[in-house]
Symmetry: C2
Subunit: 345 residues, 2 copies
Amino acid sequence: MNRKKTTIEDVAARAGISRQTVSRVLNDRGVVARETRARVLAAIKALDYRPNASARSLASRRTYLLGILTADLSDYTHARILEGAETAAREHGYLMFISGAERSLTGEPLHSRLLSQHQAEGLFIIYHGADCDSYLIFDDIPRDLPVVTIGYAQDRENVVKVGIANSQAARWATEHLLRLGHRRIAHITGPQEMYESQERRLGYVEALRQAGVVPEDCWVAVGDWSSASGYRAVLELLDRSPGFTALFAQNDRMALGALQALRKSGLQVPQDVAVVGFDDIPLAAYFAPPLTTVHHPFYEVGSRGAGLLIDLIDGLPAPSAPVHLETELVIRCSCGARSKSVPMH
Amino acid sequence: MNRKKTTIEDVAARAGISRQTVSRVLNDRGVVARETRARVLAAIKALDYRPNASARSLASRRTYLLGILTADLSDYTHARILEGAETAAREHGYLMFISGAERSLTGEPLHSRLLSQHQAEGLFIIYHGADCDSYLIFDDIPRDLPVVTIGYAQDRENVVKVGIANSQAARWATEHLLRLGHRRIAHITGPQEMYESQERRLGYVEALRQAGVVPEDCWVAVGDWSSASGYRAVLELLDRSPGFTALFAQNDRMALGALQALRKSGLQVPQDVAVVGFDDIPLAAYFAPPLTTVHHPFYEVGSRGAGLLIDLIDGLPAPSAPVHLETELVIRCSCGARSKSVPMH
DNA sequence: TTGTAGGCGTTATCAT
DNA sequence: ATGATAACGCCTACAA
């Protein structure tokens, strides 16, 4: 931080002009004589001048900073959303900083410092904490701060929800199994208090009902998104209510655990049990057997979300309904059907 | 950004004191009367005052910003390092900005905005581009900017390399296979031009040599870290030089692809071919069969790296040698040995 | 122990 | 079309 930086004043001097005019060409504001502009541009290039962001935002009250809040960045689904969001943000001239949502010992949420000190102009919440903390995050967010969120969204102004139509997608996945002739379809959900879990479970239940199958709670096991929980869930299901011929897991990681539990229990997939997952993480194509799953467009959710966030910042009205991107059912080997991709719409 | 923020002046007024004293208690600089300090603190809390970071860094010439450069954030290995780095940075009061390292059409590296405009005080490079772009990144980095890097590091001041002892770890993995009686051990590497690939391959070769086995190029296939490339590599090896009884893949994703190719070729793991991977991603324990692999302490690499970066910023001398964290061999089922973890040191 | 003056690098506002 | 002047919110240095 100690090396001497060239300032707008240096550029002005070299171009033989006032710093105001330099500022003008920098921000494309006001009219500048063609020739003057050229001189300024030349000076900028010659001096390799970069405007100081701190000074800029201090004077202009704009930071072009977006905060992103998430638990568990190492989970592919979040990381991929982040990737999409960051790329879109960068393309729009915004910078993205990341932050967990932990609270300090005093109970003050750590991200509030980020938001208010660094003056983030918007917040992208990709939360996925195992507990319901996500619902509390909103308490610490100023009402007038534009927010985009995946999953749960408080119903208030300046908050937009992006994602997929979870229940519809889950219904498609279940219907696929139904269409293949299955009637006893087990289900592994995420944590019960989570929005996505509830929505996906709803889709599963609806599909069964519509097919005239009575959904029984004994076919549903609760996991926590991890492979280990998927493994345990299958063991539990096998013990509690054996006889299911198909299994729909609410994410691919749990499906992977399930696959292993099934294998260890001597059950063949898809011959004995057909399995369908959710998310379509890159490794799913290499599971044993390759997993039939719902493709979740994470990257697009991220970039779209960032776009919406920037729209909010620009004062555009928030969409009246959650923004849903399209999913599709990727049929591979774990369900016994012929491989293909089926767009859901 | 338009809502009225409370400033240091407001706090000073409420505490009936000059803003200078407020600044003092804020920064813990100089001596402040116990009672005055209490009044100031009370005012701060009452007004919910947060110092403006832009103004602060403009005046103090400190930003407490760290940039993180990476390709492919959705890859677990990077995301996990990022997670460790971000957590450590936050604990030290630094903020972490993420940025890809792409160049704009004009050839200007996009991350330069981070460095020169936002005045990042340090840079954490987790690069892993499939090509050798990583080697070029350094060209755009000011010589006096503290840098921490994983993998390749230019040998210059203010650059610290963190990571693991790749060749040593690879040697251990190979020796494990050797110890199990294997002599014809195939190997799948990452892109040839990459540092990690070269180091790991070196370890593999050394282990063979030391065991009196002549390393043959025909047993080595080159991948690109992806599962697909691992799959192809096995097909290629099987075609070109069948007869290997063991396989060491330079990362778990390629190992997963390899597992599938082996399975499709009618080969059983570990009975026909023993497989060892590298990284120990969370899903590896659920591969079929569960993968024996080298545990790579990504999170710790990230947090340690951030710590070192902050040390550099604080003017501490850079470690004279690369900082290596400990790996361990996690023995599961894919190699045929009894499960356990073996620290490598 | 506390206050005053000046400046950090930029943009906003109002002149010219 | 360009320039002068005054902020923006804070910190440093020095004075009291």
